[in-house]
Every structure is written in structure tokens, then in C-alpha cells.
């Protein structure tokens, strides 16, 4: 999986169609993930020393990871369902790489729970999941089932992914070494997902501004769930008020870039 040729010219000179053909491909994904997953086992380097938290810190980490698992399951189910309604081959291929990414995230997070001594990670996830997150998952899957491409992409790749991106980023900065490495790998995948969602919707909104009102409605239905999840997670990962506000701002930025103000 090594690149053989230098790009003939500056990457920024590509025509937009050629750029999309390049980045929405299995080949691109393949070589991109090789850069940071090669040699890892369950999302971290095999020789990273495990310094797991103990006592109440351990309990909080387990609850947090359980909720991440619900988020990743929602993303896995959402992304896979979106393939059937994706408008063209490139978006289908991109979403299939996202499906594998989400499946990987779920796997490494469940493995981390097992490493922390959770005997039955899957049932623990169900027990500790936040009602807001479960409701978000149901709403997302309803949008996918209704075959509403724009609304589902908005909920999945803009709202959910932006939330995860912001939270994982903050959590990685104060997590134990293995959890940090696992989250950093996930963040690298999330970059592709949020970028895809934002750009796909941005292009749609530019051509069909009438979609905006519908997406605004979706946002207002989901926003309180997202903010509730943010608050709960921020408490669990132990961030202060200032950092919590910054988290909220990071989440809102991507939604606002698409023209959806608070």
C-alpha cells in the first residue's frame, strides 16, 4: 500500500470533479488509513503502556465509552442505510468507507471496555446509554428510513459527526494513554466524515436553497438532544465550564458554516 508516484502537479490545481473522484474512492481511503492504522492493534500501538483509571474515574470512563458505542452504532447504521439512497457512485463508495470506519470505531471502543475489565461490553453499553443519545439514534434512523438524503446526511455527517469530533478531541487531551490513541485514530477518520457531510450539503444548498427550511427543522428537533449529550459527556470526562463552552462552540461552528444560526 505504498504510493509510487509524486503528483504530477500541485494538488490544488485539480479540477473539482477530478478532486472528488480522487478523494471519494476506496484507493484514497485505503492509503489514508494505512498511514495511521498500520501496525496498530485495536486502535493503539501494541507497546503503549496501559495506565487505566481506577475507582470513580474508571466508572466514569466506562459510562463515557458506552455512550460513544451508542453514537458509533448509530453512525454505523445510519451510514450503511444511506448507501441505498446516495445519489451517485462516488457518494456510495465514500459511504462504504465510512461504514467500515464506523464499524472499526465500535470495535475498538468495545475492546477498550473489555480491557477495562467490563465482562459483557455489549450489555453494559445498553445499560449505561443516555436516553438523549438513544432518542437521537432513533430519529436519525427514521430520517434514513424515510429516504430523505439531505436531512439524514445533515443529522449524521454534520450534527452527529461534529458532536463526536468535538467531544473526542477534548477527551483525547486528558485521557489515559490507550484511550487517547484510540480516540486520536477515530478523530482522523471523523475528519473525512464531517468534511464529506458539510461539502455535500453545502453544494446541495447552493443549488436548491429550498432545502434549508427543512434542514432548519431537523436541527431544531435534534439540537436539544445534542446539547444534552454534550453536557452529560463533558461532566463525565471532567472538563471545566470554560472548556464545555468551547466544546459547544466547536460543535456549532460547522452547522453555522452551512448557514444555520442558533
Amino acid at each position: 500500500m505504498t504510493a509510487r508516484t509524486e503528483p504530477r502537479t500541485e494538488i490544488h490545481d485539480l479540477e473539482h470533479d477530478a478532486f472528488l473522484e480522487e478523494v471519494h474512492s476506496f484507493e484514497f481511503w485505503f492509503q489514508a488509513v494505512e498511514g495511521y492504522l498500520s501496525g496498530t492493534v485495536h486502535g493503539h500501538r501494541p507497546d503503549t503502556r496501559d495506565v487505566p483509571p481506577v475507582g470513580s474515574d474508571r466508572e466514569r470512563l466506562i459510562s463515557t465509552l458506552c455512550n460513544y458505542c451508542i453514537g458509533e452504532t448509530a453512525a454505523l447504521e445510519g451510514a450503511s442505510g444511506l448507501i441505498a439512497i446516495a445519489p451517485n457512485r462516488l457518494t456510495k463508495v465514500f459511504l462504504s468507507t465510512q461504514v467500515a470506519d464506523e464499524g472499526r470505531h465500535l470495535e475498538v471502543l468495545l475492546q477498550r471496555l473489555a480491557d477495562l475489565g467490563v465482562a459483557e461490553p455489549e450489555s453494559e453499553v445498553e445499560k449505561r446509554s443516555s436516553p438523549s443519545l438513544q432518542l437521537f439514534r432513533r430519529r436519525l434512523l427514521e430520517l434514513v428510513a424515510s429516504r430523505d438524503w439531505e436531512a439524514a446526511i445533515f443529522a449524521q455527517n454534520v450534527i452527529l459527526e461534529s458532536l463526536e469530533y468535538a467531544v473526542f478531541h477534548t477527551h483525547a487531551s486528558n485521557a489515559d494513554p490507550i484511550t487517547r490513541e484510540v480516540l486520536e485514530g477515530v478523530i482522523k477518520d471523523e475528519r473525512r466524515h464531517i468534511g464529506f457531510g458539510e461539502n455535500e450539503l453545502g453544494r446541495k444548498l447552493a443549488h436548491s436553497p429550498h432545502i434549508r427550511a427543512r434542514l432548519g427543522q431537523v436541527r431544531s428537533q435534534l439540537d436539544h438532544l445534542v446539547l444534552d449529550m454534550l453536557e452529560t459527556t463533558a461532566r463525565e470526562i471532567g472538563v471545566d465550564r470554560h472548556e464545555q463552552e468551547r466544546l459547544g462552540r466547536t460543535y456549532r461552528e460547522s452547522v453555522e458554516r452551512l448557514g444555520f444560526g442558533s
Binding site: F28, F196, L205
Partner: protein
């Protein structure tokens, strides 16, 4: 492949701007895109990190995008890690910034 940057040079150049400086890009260890594209990106090191004249930060994923040419307002750049197309603008602070072009 056409070179839209060259095509835009005259129109996009700010008054008084001279010939663009050229840069040789080295691999900075950024490992989230295929090897052949890695030199076009680097990690943003946060407050205190200074951007070179051929660099701009992606507002979507906060990676530093690099070009072999000095960047100017109106230039188009691509962020491969998040797959965004961006246009370089002069921000309120006077620094070059990138805006997503859908």
C-alpha cells in the same frame, strides 16, 4: 490538467502584488492522506503556530493546507483530509484565511 491558479493570477492578485514566491514542500509527518499528498498538509500546532505565506488553515478540520506557491486571496485550495474545496480570502485580522466553497 489546466492550472486555474495561474489563470486567476492577474484577477486575484492584490494591488501591487508581485510575482509569487515558490516553495519546496517537505513531508512533515502528516499521515492522514496517501503518501504522495502528505507534503501538502501539516498539523496545526495551535496558538503560537505561525502560517507561512503558502499556508492556510482549513476551517472545517483545522489542518494546515500548504501550496508550492505563495497564496493570495481568490486562490482555490483543497483540503484532502476532510475533502473540502476552499477559497483563500483576506480575513479581518489581515491574515489569509480559507472559506469553504460549496
Amino acid at each position: 490538467m489546466s492550472d486555474p491558479l495561474q489563470g486567476h493570477d492577474d484577477a486575484s492578485a492584490e494591488p501591487g502584488a508581485g510575482e509569487r514566491r515558490r516553495f519546496i514542500l517537505d513531508d512533515t509527518g502528516f499521515n492522514e492522506v496517501p503518501v504522495k499528498y502528505r507534503k501538502f498538509y501539516r498539523k496545526w500546532r495551535g496558538a503560537g503556530d505561525a502560517l507561512a505565506p503558502n499556508e492556510v488553515v482549513c476551517p472545517v478540520c483545522k489542518v494546515v493546507i500548504r501550496s508550492t506557491r505563495e497564496l493570495r486571496p481568490g486562490d482555490r485550495v483543497y483540503c484532502m483530509p476532510c475533502m473540502s474545496r476552499l477559497v483563500v480570502v483576506r480575513g479581518e485580522s489581515g491574515m489569509l484565511e480559507a472559506r469553504v466553497a460549496y
